[in-house]
């Protein structure tokens, strides 16, 4: 009996002296829970922001990869189109055929020019290419009335995708009177990947921006990688400990924190106004980015070089190698995986950078795919900015699509970097 009493007297409840302290204890435990829950919810909210952003973009981008085609009766007038001459067939302007078919088909439309043009705008501006393709494939059909799948204009496309609810009067009339749902179908949007920018959403593509991004990244890598590697090699292996080295060190840390737009101003005033490099070219873009991202690569490279153990260096020195030989033959090759990882991450950062490139004029409207480093170019993020400023509704899904493509590339780069780090990282 007494033994049991002693044991219970040690239990937690009996120890608590009074109700006052118990309350205080409860409050303390409540605070403990509060802090834990608020920390967890902070993380969950941040993550859900990310998820929301990604799903939002996925949801909006969904439509952009497909575009609507309309099956339309077209009368291929034998008087207009010569049958035999293939060269002629290729050069013929099929827009006139389309226009004629429209005014024949849609009798309700007032015969004034404005309504006719509106009816023509039911189809894409380059719908004549679809007719041409058909004629070149089936030259024997000339002179007949045929059904051809024509690319619809962006307005119809958006209406079909239920992104917009209003159509113009003429379009509504045509849509309701002459077409059944089976006359519409969605095809994969090749234009998005093969064409440059356009004022018409259904004809706009990302190819120019994509090639521009690649060119800019090539220049960026060529300019920044050797510079960064040699600089960090100097700082880690050769620099004497003096004021000058400290100055370089502070300078690099500061460069990393300067707003990116300042580098745009630098590129504008140095490369374009002083050296007269071609405005909005990949060359200037790459140089500007390389100045901006240089500190990132330098910091990564220095960390990588720092992690090489001194025993390797001293062993090489002991065998009679000079300091330069140690650095070039041993330290640098061993540090390479780390340097590559840092460089890939830097490329990912440079790929998403917008503000400095806008400053140096990469915001131009680029229809043609750039052929070399001196051509006016735009890059993917700037294309996002351009399209998001476009008020036409067809560009909303296009913008989301290009964002999605950019994000896929960034995630790919990051994944490659992580793979590199895991595969080649050595614990010394």
């Amino acid at each position: 009996m007494s033994k049991q009493k002693i044991i219970t007297s040690y239990s937690f409840k009996d120890f608590s002296l009074s109700e006052k302290y118990q309350k205080k204890l409860a409050r303390r435990h409540f605070r403990e829970k509060l802090l834990k829950i608020s920390g967890l919810s902070a993380i969950i909210i941040s993550c859900s922001f990310l998820l929301f952003l990604i799903f939002n973009i996925l949801y909006k981008a969904n439509g952009a990869f497909f575009t609507t085609y309309v099956r339309t009766p077209i009368y291929l007038d034998g008087n207009l189109i010569k049958k035999d001459d293939r060269d002629y067939l290729e050069k013929f302007r099929y827009r006139s055929v389309l226009l004629k078919s429209i005014s024949n088909n849609y009798k309700e439309i007032h015969n004034n020019r404005r309504d006719k043009m509106r009816a023509l705008n039911f189809f894409s501006k380059r719908a004549d290419l679809d007719i041409r393709k058909f004629v070149l494939k089936n030259p024997d059909k000339i002179g007949e009335k045929v059904y051809i799948w024509l690319k619809a204009s962006s307005k119809i496309d958006q209406y079909e995708k239920k992104n917009s609810k209003n159509l113009g009067d003429v379009h509504k009339l045509i849509y309701e009177k002459y077409f059944t749902p089976s006359d519409f179908k969605k095809k994969f949007n090749y234009t998005l990947f093969t064409k440059g920018d356009s004022t018409e959403p259904e004809l706009a593509g990302i190819a120019a921006a994509f090639i521009g991004s690649i060119f800019t990244m090539v220049i960026f890598l060529l300019a920044s990688f050797p510079l960064a590697v040699l600089l960090s090699l100097y700082l880690e292996e050769f620099a004497p400990k003096n004021k000058f080295s400290d100055l370089i060190e502070i300078n690099i840390n500061n460069l990393a924190a300067i707003p990116s737009i300042i580098f745009g101003l630098l590129g504008l005033s140095i490369f374009i106004n002083f050296f007269h490099m071609p405005r909005s070219s990949a060359l200037v873009g790459g140089f500007t980015l390389s100045l901006m991202v240089l500190p990132t690569i330098v910091i990564a490279t220095r960390n990588s070089i720092k992690s090489i153990p001194t025993s390797i260096k001293t062993a090489a020195l002991g065998l009679g190698a000079s300091k330069v030989q140690v650095a070039l033959h041993h330290t640098l090759p061993l540090a390479m995986p780390g340097i590559f990882t840092g460089t890939i991450l830097a490329v990912a950062r440079a790929l998403g950078e917008t503000a400095p490139l806008i400053m140096i004029g990469m915001i131009a409207f680029i229809v043609d795919i750039p052929a070399n480093f001196f051509d006016p170019t735009t890059v993917l993020p700037v294309q996002i900015y351009l399209w998001s400023n476009n008020p036409e509704i067809g560009f909303v899904e296009k913008t989301s699509a290009i964002i999605l493509i950019l994000l896929i590339f960034l995630i790919l780069f990051n994944a490659v970097a992580i793979y590199f780090r895991n595969k080649y990282s050595q614990k010394w």
Binding site: G39, C47, N56, I250, I261, A348, A355, S388
Partner: protein, 396 residues
Amino acid sequence: MFYICLLIAFSCFTFFFSKNYFKKQHIINRALVKATPNYYGICVTTWLLSILALTLIIIYLLDIESIEIFVTISLLLTLFCNIFLLKNLPKNFHPRKHIEKLFICLLKIISIISISITILIVLSILIEALRFFAEIPITNFLFGTKWNPQDASHGGDATHSFGAVAVFLGTFLITFIAIIIAVTFGIFSAIFLTEYASKKFRSYIKPILEILAGIPTVVYGYFAAFTVAPFLKLFLEKFGISMEAESALAAGIVMGIMIIPFVLSLSDDVIHSVPEQLRNASLGLGSTKSEMITKVVIPAAIPGISGAVLLAISRAIGETMIVTMAAGLNANMSFNPLDSVTTATAQIVTLLVGDQEFDSSKTLAAFALGITLFTITLILNLIALIIVKKYREKYE
């Protein structure tokens, strides 16, 4: 282009010729060779290139611009290097030493280049800004409250339409909103990750949050302008509050989200570096974990965290795309986060896009804003660096 290819061919030829020459020498007479043949090759090639560069500069200065002369001179020099120099190398010649000296010279030049970048930034922007201040008094710029560059270019009173206060007010308003969000979420997440979370949870969550940092700013800008702003507008209208389509609030919130991982990783490091003894002592005295965190760990980490916050502020001030797309362009003197405000970075973008003439006060104003921005961020960064450095020294 042709000439560059020719030069490359010449130097390759020199390299391999001299390399092979010394390989043969090595086989015939051991004593002569002081280094591997590669070194001789590189050495002779660099001589060739430096002599070539010198002569070409001289020719260029003499105003002779015919490619035939260039080609013949390079050819002659290549032959001279390969035949004459190789035969007459001094007996105690050490090519390795020469090359290594050259290499270190190269490294030094590169380190000087890295410093010159900063100097270039400052000079290039400062020169343009000084041109601006020659037209518009600096006091009007720094203390003026009316920002209306369009007005100035249409013949209005230029000296009074560039008041930077209106612009920087917007910058600080948006930065304030962003920092509140980023610091709350960032620090709470950092506390949870360092003190409560299991290692596995940490290893999953950290990369996810780092994705947030890797998303390009233009994507955030799009998100702010076309998703968050309409949503906020709809939400606030239910409570009868009207909001403009472009607002400081939407831009600030999204910018805050963008900076969360930045604050998180910095304060994570700081909290991690608080010594374990402090934690154990506090727990040993009977405090709960939360008391240990709020009364011991955080006060010890405050200097480091404030450094992180300063860095985050300087990032928020310099952020461009989000504010350009979501915050608007009119310089309102307003503290209301629901109003459309403008920022220094957004103004720089709008002033310089599409405008080709380079000497109007409108374009030069962008550089004046730029140098102000540069100064502010530089000061913030330096203070933050000093704080973080001192803090590190305290615990190491």
